[in-house]
């Protein structure tokens, strides 16, 4: 097939319209969410004292951090799906959840505490956190990568890592309602480690899956 023939063929296919990437990503995440929720309700479930926990600002702050991570990672993912985009202009968005976390830690430091710092940091659920967040993230990550395949990222591994961040953010939001450790120190340690695992897996998977 010579190039003129190829051009004529592409022009004949001009009527085809791909789904916008935002929509493709949303649909793929919606399709993957039930799998993650199934893992959550089968293995973990919401903590029994959730109604009282909601009055604890540090319980609520966990959701602020994880939702900020999910939202900023979604925005950065969509940005990175364009071939000429780089992390340079939008990457700082990912610092928003870290900023909230730092503010929460300093807030907690200023309040009188019954338990010592290391006890709060180590908590009771570190292992559950480190396994549940990656396990619940995985279906979301597969979905996110599937949706983002519509895009054309310049650096597929970076785009995959950000897809990992977004799935970890969503999974951690659900997990936070199970976990009884509300100290921002616990969140900063174990949630961050779990998120880093998912981001690395995302980078590895994205490297192949997001090439165009």
């Amino acid at each position: 097939m010579d190039t003129d023939q190829l051009i004529r063929t592409l022009a004949a296919d001009n009527a085809y319209r791909a789904r916008p990437i935002g929509l493709a990503l949303m649909l793929a995440l919606l399709a993957a969410a039930p799998v993650s929720l199934l893992i959550f309700f089968a293995e973990l479930g919401v903590r029994p004292d959730v109604m009282t926990a909601m009055h604890n600002p540090f319980f609520d702050l966990k959701f602020a951090v994880t939702l900020a991570l999910a939202a900023s990672a979604i925005a950065v993912s969509l940005h990175l799906s364009r071939p000429e985009a780089s992390l340079r202009s939008f990457g700082w968005w990912l610092l928003i959840p870290a900023g909230i976390l730092v503010a929460a830690i300093s807030g907690e430091m200023m309040m009188p505490q019954r338990t010592p710092m290391m006890t709060r940091l180590i908590g009771k659920n570190s292992m559950a956190c480190m396994t549940a967040i990656p396990a619940m993230s995985l279906p979301l990550l597969v979905g996110a990568l599937y949706g983002l395949r519509q895009g054309a990222p310049a650096r597929p591994a970076v785009a995959g890592a950000v897809a990992g961040l977004l799935s970890a953010g969503l999974a951690a939001t659900v997990y936070a309602s199970h976990c009884t450790d509300d100290s921002p120190l616990f969140v900063a340690t174990w949630y961050t480690l779990a998120t880093a695992i998912v981001a690395s897996v995302g980078a590895l998977m994205g490297k192949r899956a997001l090439r165009y």
Binding site: M1, D2, Q5, T9, A11, A18, P83, A154
Partner: protein, 181 residues
């Protein structure tokens, strides 16, 4: 050069709003620029320049299949050159060469510089044979025999819609095969 790039942006906008002729003109207009840049890249990597046409076709397919990632309010050229650069680097890497490809390689092509294709490109043609029969027949009919979508539909007793679907799927799987080869 600015003028040329503004013209591309206008053509792409018309193409996206459904003007097939504008799209054809745009692809025709960018091809010599892509060809010149592909040659320059190959030459710098010490590779025979007669392989440039495969790279040009690779870029054109990517432009086509990823055009939804172009923001219609942004200029077209930076988007195009980002895709072209990515594909050129990929092609050189596949040949075992790691070189730095500068965006300016594309931007600096003079409008007067319009090299003709040299060797006939083989990669797309080879992968075409590996497609599922229905996609291959439709692509063959539209691309090689230059039959219209309407006549292709009549020839294979398909609906026009089915021809369009087979055409698009064929182009998409062709690109996938080229990427994973």
């Amino acid at each position: 050069m600015r003028e040329r790039e503004d013209e591309w942006t206008d053509l792409m906008r018309s193409a996206i709003s459904g003007d097939d002729a504008a799209y054809h003109r745009l692809l025709k207009a960018i091809t010599p620029v892509l060809r010149a840049a592909a040659r320059r890249g190959l030459a710098r990597a010490g590779q025979p320049v007669d392989q440039s046409e495969d790279i040009v076709q690779d870029i054109l397919l990517a432009v086509h299949l990823k055009r939804q990632t172009w923001d219609t309010n942004a200029p077209f050229a930076p988007w195009l050159f980002a895709i072209a650069r990515n594909k050129l680097i990929d092609a050189l890497r596949r040949r075992g060469k790691r070189i730095f490809v500068n965006i300016d390689d594309f931007a600096e092509t003079l409008p007067g510089e319009t090299p003709e294709p040299t060797a006939s490109p083989g990669e797309v043609t080879a992968q075409l044979q590996a497609l599922p029969p229905r996609q291959r027949d439709v692509l063959q009919s539209i691309a090689v025999d230059s039959t219209s979508i309407k006549d292709t539909a009549a020839k294979f007793s398909m609906t026009e819609g089915a021809v369009r679907v087979a055409l698009h799927r064929g182009l998409a799987s062709l690109t996938e095969k080229l990427r994973d080869r």
